[in-house]
Symmetry: C2
Subunit: 602 residues, 2 copies
């Protein structure tokens, strides 16, 4: 029997021939440029079988290629075998991106017809493709077919719809809309099209579970000078819960419309609409661009990033409960090792989920839990397999990166934490790597720096303890975390890329340096830092951090000679603080264990 | 009697009236955009009496203003009294630059006539003025009059001409010219106009003393695909020494022309000329722009910044000799204090110059020596007064920032060093500031970091020991230093400005953090760091630094509790190295004193 995906590819090519298309492009994006697309928009997976989070596909009549980055080369190699899809490597020297590859492919032609699902490809990418083909003398005709793949994907899932509810994060939606209208007034915009789901959720104080790990409502928002139109109604939203939310937003002047009606609304707009073509899909961009547009980023991402006192209190409270689950988990893990119990990475991930689920406010994980033992931990984006997962052994390092979404009576918030735990004796190299990553982690947490510092300037500082011994990690040092929203928010985007965006009091971002040694081990320490005002003096205005994550850091394999006195003092104070806050909330035997785990080291 | 400068201003206004000029602009720049203009081009000083290194003047029929920055506010206030020139403050919140001020001044007018000495104003500034006036609805007619001020400044000095000689820095001029032609070929340029004096000196391996502190030849260089034209001959270059240099460059195919003939040469050019309008003067830019120009930076500044092995050896050797002078100086200073000898800051500066002059290769200072005691040291750009200089007292901190230009039989090179020395008991705050600045200085010197790191990313790292106690300094952390060329070279330009230019092996730059407390004291520690290859491993390619400056760092007021073990180890090793290298070259009693000064502290 022929490969399922090869067959799908052939069916697609039949469609291409009948329409006269030279190429079809599918991206991993949904219509909202979301980090996690819903099942309906996992088109690359359906077509090729590739399950990585990042991948775009180009199909021509004689070639099919998947573009993905270093993280997924091995996985893509395995999953694409027999499909007829070839791997195109990105983030490597000499990489050829899709917009660069197409002119090579169609070199010498006069014109090409390229079909896309205009809803699921960014306007920026399409424009780059058109421009680069034009520069090569090839006229590119883009045929935009919304839901293009549905003709072949007969059992394609529909747009998700889960009950919608509201939250009270310390600023009401009328205030937020008024802020946005103030900005629109300054910019001379009559309308603002908000397409990013977390920005809509933040503006309307509304949440749902339409997307895995993300409490978001798949919808569009069109804010006018005097109107707010929310394109949210799907086939059957009559769930009993959402009504209350709709009543509430309706009372604030928000008008509800069917999800798909955004197209018609954009067609009928008078005046100038502010939108961000860098993040909007090609289909809606084209409709909007028939009128007058103001192409720029709206300030919502920034407003959302700076947490208010209610949000900060919620995040702190969520971290107390999350810390309780984490301490119970590490205690359980140690007991399993002591009792020579056979547990796999997957068993550990399941256990942690169960412990978080004991918290009344728990609404699910904030991303897929990574439990990785030994060599698995050397892959920063390891996916813990549910079947045949590696079994933990009572030596070496175990890395667990996880987080929860919380919302309930007492608090709402989002967490993201990584602890690397020794399961028994460790090698000198494991201990050294563990300690150097810890130094990096602590040094950033201890930093004091001028107001409005650009993250990229502080980033090198966070790497230095590793660099001194010529070690490093390839991912970002930190990312913003939402208030019961996405666990990966930007800004802030804490990495080396030249990015002048400033650090401000109220931002919350992760601090997660690491070291990864292929085939050996991986270390990462991650907590969330709250950026706080540290006063003004004759030398300027200052910011510092508060570590809001609460889970002890294991001291048993710290190489004390590598730590400065300041770093040791920070570590002891942090562990003492964790014990003081969490012990009263833990079962007696876990609390007693935590007391020993948090004893100061000299 | 009326103020001399008020009189000059009135004479200028007479000239303006007779020509119908609404405004005249003078900048502090020379035709080559040099950091240190020769006397002939100190037009702002002649017109207003202001002697600061940075200042531009605008004169209208009813206003005269000097634009300068924070460093010079006090000085300008004093020097401008009675002249009728008003101070316009730059680098302050709400600053209004000249291009922003002119539209306010001429608001409502239809057109203005602004006269400039086109040779002494940058093309970029003139274009900004024209654009900003146009945006305000005012047509700006720029009247460019080369040497405009000469009509009033009757005893104006001529263009300097000092003997020209050649150097042998490890790469001959034919090789350098070939490199430049390679770049021109890539860019499609037929000509490259080199206007920066240090780039000309580097390309031709030629030096002179036309500019104070800078061994440069005032000239123009026009490199063609097959010709090299050097516009260097002034009124009387027949000095006996220059002939040898001219013979040598002539043998390499360099054709000599009178200095002023550059204008005619540019007028007659066929083909595309590469030039940098950001640094070229308005007059030559306009002549060039009549033809085809390629407006970009040439790569010479980068090539010059990366020192070759000969240059590195020269710089190291220069620092050995410079260190001998510095140690003799600090020894002398201590003895003066012990013997209660009355010496002023100026006496100290003179003494240091005498000690450097004992070195056969000494060609002069690389900038004006700063000797500053107590509150004077709180001004980062203090100028030691030759008359009534403050007298040193046997307590508190003395800051000395100085450098030499060396070229002779054994070596060539340029130095720049700052040492802050306790002259006796110090306050706890002086000691703490001294120690924190030392930590910053050492931390950067110890840094290991990935190849091609941007300086602005590493800059925050160098500030962190100060930031942790909410202290900071407002100047750059470091600047490039030439090989027997300018002491302030860029790149590298080590400061917070977002600047993606990479650090590379072979660069030499200063490491000079500080703390300045107005009315109290100032601390700065400065050495030159050579950026070196530190190997490649699985995590990447690495760079590190070698401190090439040789002069002990006083340990008597180091607050040891503030230093990390690494920092103390670095300090002890550095001082031991200084002693080992310099002791054999010092008189016995100074060597013995240095032994005690460089004893390790625990």
């Amino acid at each position: 029997m022929e490969n399922l995906f090869a067959q799908r590819l052939e069916n697609l090519r039949g469609m291409m021939r009948s329409h006269g298309w030279d190429a079809v492009i599918f991206t991993g994006s949904d219509p909202h440029n979301s980090e996690y697309p819903a099942e309906r928009w996992k088109q690359v997976r359906w077509l090729t079988g590739f399950t990585g989070e990042c991948g775009d596909v180009v199909v021509t009549l004689d070639h099919a290629g998947l573009w993905t980055d270093t993280r997924y080369f091995i996985q893509a190699g395995t999953q694409l075998a027999g499909t007829g899809v070839e791997l195109h490597k990105m983030r490597v020297p000499g990489q050829v991106s899709i917009p660069d590859w197409l002119p090579l492919k169609f070199d010498g032609g006069n014109e090409v017809f390229i079909a896309v699902d205009g809803l699921c490809i960014g306007a920026g990418m399409v424009r780059e493709i058109i421009d680069k083909l034009a520069a090569a003398g090839v006229q590119c005709n883009v045929v935009s077919v919304p839901d293009l793949l549905s003709a072949l994907w007969t059992d394609r899932p529909s747009v998700p719809q889960t009950p919608i509810f509201t939250v009270d994060p310390g600023e009401d939606r009328q205030s937020k809309i008024a802020r946005l209208r103030g900005w629109m007034g300054e910019k001379g915009a009559d309308w603002c099209l908000v397409s990013a789901l977390d920005e809509i959720a933040w503006l309307l104080n509304a949440r749902a579970s339409d997307i895995e790990y993300n409490p978001l409502v798949i919808s569009w928002l069109l804010v006018g000078r005097e109107s707010v139109d929310w394109f949210v109604l799907k086939d059957d939203i009559d769930d009993g819960i959402s009504e209350k939310a709709f009543d509430e937003v309706g009372a604030d002047g928000v008008e509800l419309h069917p999800y798909a009606d955004i197209e018609e609304a954009l067609m009928d707009l008078d005046g100038t609409v502010a939108l961000d073509s860098g993040r909007l899909n090609w289909h809606l961009y084209n409709i909007s661009a028939k009128g007058s547009i103001l192409d720029c980023q709206n300030p919502v991402a920034w407003w959302k990033a700076v947490k208010n006192p209610t949000e900060i209190a919620g995040m702190r409270a969520a971290h107390v409960q999350d810390g309780v689950a984490m301490e119970k988990f590490i205690w359980w893990l140690e007991k399993c090792m002591e009792n020579e119990k056979r547990i796999s990475e997957w068993d550990a991930a399941v256990k942690l989920g169960q412990l978080r689920a004991e918290i009344p406010e728990y609404r699910g994980d904030s991303f897929e839990t990574i439990c990785a033992y030994g060599p698995g931990a050397a892959l920063p984006h390891y996916i813990t397999p549910s079947v045949d997962a590696p079994v933990l052994e009572p030596h070496g390092l175990f890395l667990c990166d996880s987080g929860g979404q919380y919302c309930g009576e007492r608090f709402c918030g989002t967490t993201d934490i990584t602890r690397t735990t020794p399961l028994g004796p460790c090698t000198p190299l494991e201990m050294e790597d563990y300690t150097l990553v810890l130094k990096s982690h602590i040094d950033l947490a201890m930093a004091v720096f001028p107001k409005d510092m650009a993250t990229c300037r502080l980033d090198a500082f966070a790497h230095m303890p590793l660099w001194r011994s010529k070690r490093d990690f390839g991912h970002g040092t930190g990312h913003g975390v939402g208030y019961f929203l996405g666990v990966h928010e930007a800004p802030p985007d804490f990495r080396q890329n030249m990015d002048g965006r400033p650090l401000k009091a109220g931002l919350i971002h992760s601090d997660e340096p690491g070291i990864y040694r292929e085939g050996m081990h991986g270390v990462r320490h991650e907590s969330l830092l709250l950026c706080k005002d540290a006063g003004t003096n004759e030398f300027g205005s200052w910011l510092c951090y508060e570590n809001i994550t609460l889970c002890h850091i294991d001291t048993s394999i710290v190489v004390k000679e590598l730590m400065s006195a300041d770093e040791l003092a920070w570590l002891n104070a942090y562990n003492a603080h964790v014990y003081a806050v969490l012990a009263p909330l833990l079962p007696a035997q876990v609390a007693e264990w935590l007391r020993t785990k948090t004893e100061a080291i000299q």
